[in-house]
Amino acid sequence: MKDKGKRKKATCDCVELEEWAVLYVEGEVSEEIRQRLLIHIQSCAHCAHLVRSLKRTVHYCRIECGRDVPQQAHERLWQTIRNLLGSG
């Protein structure tokens, strides 16, 4: 019972987890908070899903390599640059 009491105190609720989730994914929370969040995630499917999908969202954003400049926009830009430098 003593252990159970400690365990309950050492975890957090769903609202709290959502507040910390982004920093947790970034690895920017203290070890104490990380442990509390971990304990909660292990027993809450909803929050486990939130953290997992948040990690994937951030990961996907980071690997998204962007797009090339369309040819027309590229040519227009360089025409402008040439005009600028020619007149400067």
């Binding site: 962007g66 797009r67 926009a73 430098l85």
Partner: protein, 230 residues
């Protein structure tokens, strides 16, 4: 007394030269209390050195800066504005402003932080202007998916993987576009352009805690939009 070639005087940084392999060779004469940039032949010329060259009238250095950052600026503009036409306009405006103000660049921040700030401001100004006109012309908007049809790089994926990737990309574009403006800029710079919280705070002139707070809300909103596609 004759100065060695490449030195323009104590405390000044002489315009550098580029060796045959494109590496930078700088000869510097700086007082003891100033920092010294070490030249490494074979490495690209640092941005700040290119800026100095532009300030000394070497305009080919400006072309190099445009070459370096054209794609980055376009992507920031595209993410903030959500379509190719506006992004192309913002790209032009950004480099026109850079050209105009680069003589006054004082090296208080890195060049790219300064450049991204200009690109972000130009894009957000355009976005706000567009929002005002959209109120009276809602049917002028083009569905985002139309822009993506010819946009997939050849990555060696199976057609199914490519389809999934395209779908996710489409959703990401839509999700970013639906973010409130104050979260959008932070998410674009931090997550899509990979800048640090400190850099984003300088670009957007926000405190680091404000950046973190907006990033928090922005990411949760983005996740909400993408959750079925991840």
């Amino acid at each position: 007394m004759a100065r060695p070639a490449g030195c323009s005087g104590e405390g000044e940084v002489a315009p550098s030269r580029v060796d045959k392999s494109g590496g930078l060779i700088i000869l510097l004469s700086v007082p003891e209390n100033k920092s010294l940039q070490v030249a490494v032949p074979g490495l690209p010329v640092p941005d700040e050195e290119l800026v100095r060259r532009v300030q000394h009238g070497h305009m080919e250095a400006f072309e190099e800066l445009v070459r370096r950052y054209e794609r980055k600026v376009y992507n920031i503009a595209y993410r903030l504005l959500g379509n190719e036409e506006d992004a192309a306009e913002a790209l032009q405006d950004t480099f026109l402003r850079v050209y105009r103000f680069i003589p006054k660049f004082a090296f208080k921040s890195s060049f790219y932080t300064w450049l991204y700030r200009i690109a972000t401001n130009v894009s957000l100004t355009r976005l706000r202007r567009r929002k005002k006109t959209e109120v009276v012309s809602l049917d002028a908007s083009i569905p985002e998916s139309d822009n993506l049809k010819f946009d997939l790089p050849d990555t060696g994926q199976t057609p199914e993987e490519a389809f999934q990737q395209k779908r996710l990309r489409e959703k990401l574009d839509q999700a970013v576009e639906q973010l409130p403006e104050e979260y959008r800029a932070v998410v674009v710079l931090r997550d899509l352009e990979g800048l640090s919280n400190e850099e984003v705070s300088k670009i957007l002139k926000l405190s680091v805690p404000a950046v973190k707070s907006r990033l928090h809300r922005g990411r949760l909103a983005l996740r909400q939009q993408l959750v079925n596609y991840l």
